[in-house]
Amino acid sequence: MTVEINKAGPEDTPPTPPEAIKAIPVRHYGRYVSALIALGILAAIVVAFAKGDINWGVIPDYFFDSRILRGVRETLILTLAAMAIGIAGGIVLSIMRMSKNPVTSSIAWFYIWFFRGTPVLVQLLVWFNLGFVFDTINLGPIYKDEWSDFMTPFLTALLGFGLNEAAYMAEICRAGLMSVDEGQTEASHALGMSHRKTLRRVVIPQAMRMIVPPTGNEVINMLKTTSLVYVVQYYELLKESSDIGTSSGATVEMMFLAAFWYLVLTTVFSIGQYYLERYYARGSSRSLPPTPLQRLRANLFSFSTRSPEAKR
């Protein structure tokens, strides 16, 4: 913090600092009780599952199985590629939607209306079966092929998820762009910056603060939604797991295994999101928010005596 302080302080202030308050902090007994109850319930659930007819031993055996790892890789690639299309498309669509040009804003409106209005599963199946509409794909001298050869399961999944996601990301980006104060645009224009530069240098960096949290949500959603691609014969984490389950007889166990992997991946993404938020928060508050480690430590302290604010 940099508040201007008068250089010439009163001469008669005593040199010794005032005695700090020593008080007994408020005891939060409710926290201990609720923690005990929660732990008890958790223990009961763990015991129930441990006693169930589930062969837990096979999960570690298959956890790093090459097919599972391949599934994880495919899930990750599909998630990241589809989100890349979604974010790029979303930014373009949101700018089109907010444009003064009635043609571009109508196109964006129609796109969002269509892709948000139909289930993503239906969209996947439509992409997969577009061969009924187009026999061949002909891009002149560049590329020419049968539709069914061109539209591989991966491309189907990528287009299906990516284009669907773009519609949702467009609305998230639009909310972010609208959250930036109009004075920012005016100040930028008054400096002679073009509309495009104003967006890129001034508006979008500030909009990111509003855009990143819901986008993190979308990434995690996408990670799990990719499990729908079994309908177009694409092999990812869930499909590989259930195949192993069918052939080895450990069906339920393999579902748990897949669930563990999804949890691992979403956790990794959440951590990434946290640091991204920290990056875009620069300048917005006087001090950066604490890192998870710092927060964990602060929470541990607050559990016994004081609130985390006291630690900052």
Binding site: Q184, G192, K197
Partner: protein
């Protein structure tokens, strides 16, 4: 000598509300031109018309002899493209009531932004000038601070430095001290005074009558979208001719 700003019958409406009802005035180069008046009198709107943040509905507005926002060929007016408007705005600095600094950039980055992005200056050149300008407004030691770490008065001085970085020939001030704590107003006015001494042409919308009297070369009192009275600040402020001016000044002085 061409006037820096020349308004001829400028009209502006927002929907059905007519905010400017025919403004005629001239600002000479190197002049400090003060606009005063009650809120809603249209003085800020007029200021924003000068750099085309608002489009005028009727009349003509010239900056340095060139029409604002339009090109005239014969008796036909052609609207300028956004890029052409942007080109003209380079020469007109503007300082806002609420500073409008870019919050994701440090003070120095704020000042460097336009020269680098608009004029294509190298970062080294822009940094050198940026540091000099921050030093000029008394904030050399705050170059690395983000706006949220600065007081209102400091932010406004950075905003002035940011506008100066484009080396404008005209500076517009839209109530630059209205959002400041009283004790911070002086620092900002000092910077503006030194700009005036250096011969910058300035159009200042203000409620600081003391500043207008000391620094201003001309003063216009506006009310309800028209110029009620104009003249040298000392004359208008000490010996107003119109009833409306008298009653306004009796409330603010």
């Amino acid at each position: 000598m061409t006037p820096m700003v020349k308004a001829e019958g400028v009209h502006k409406s927002f929907g059905h509300v007519e905010v400017l009802k025919g403004i005629d005035l001239e600002v000479a180069p190197r002049e400090v031109f003060c606009l005063i008046g009650p809120s809603g009198s249209g003085k800020s709107t007029f200021l924003r018309c000068i750099n085309h943040l608002e489009k005028i509905n009727a009349g003509r507005l010239y900056v340095d002899g060139e029409l604002v926002g339009y090109r005239q060929k014969g008796d036909k007016l052609y609207e300028l493209k956004d890029s052409e408007v942007a080109l003209k705005r380079r020469d007109i600095g503007m300082v806002f009531q609420r500073f409008n600094l870019f919050p994701h950039m440090t003070a120095l980055e704020n000042v460097m932004e336009a020269p680098v992005q608009v004029k294509g200056e190298t970062k080294a050149v822009a940094r050198e000038r940026g540091e000099r300008l921050l030093d000029r407004v008394g904030l050399a030691d705050k170059a690395g601070n983000y706006p949220s770490q600065l007081s209102g008065g400091q932010q406004q001085r950075v905003a002035i430095a940011r506008a100066l970085a484009m080396e404008p020939k005209l500076m517009l001030f839209d109530e630059p001290t209205s959002a400041l704590d009283p004790e911070l107003v002086g620092d900002v006015l000092d910077v503006m005074r030194s700009l005036a001494e250096d011969g910058m042409t300035m159009v200042v919308v203000t409620h600081e009558m003391g500043f207008a009297r000391e620094v201003g070369d001309s003063l216009v009192f506006m009310d309800e979208g028209v110029v009620v009275e104009s003249g040298h600040p000392r004359d208008v402020l000490t010996d107003p001719q119109h009833e409306r001016t008298k009653s306004f000044l009796s409330k603010v002085l």
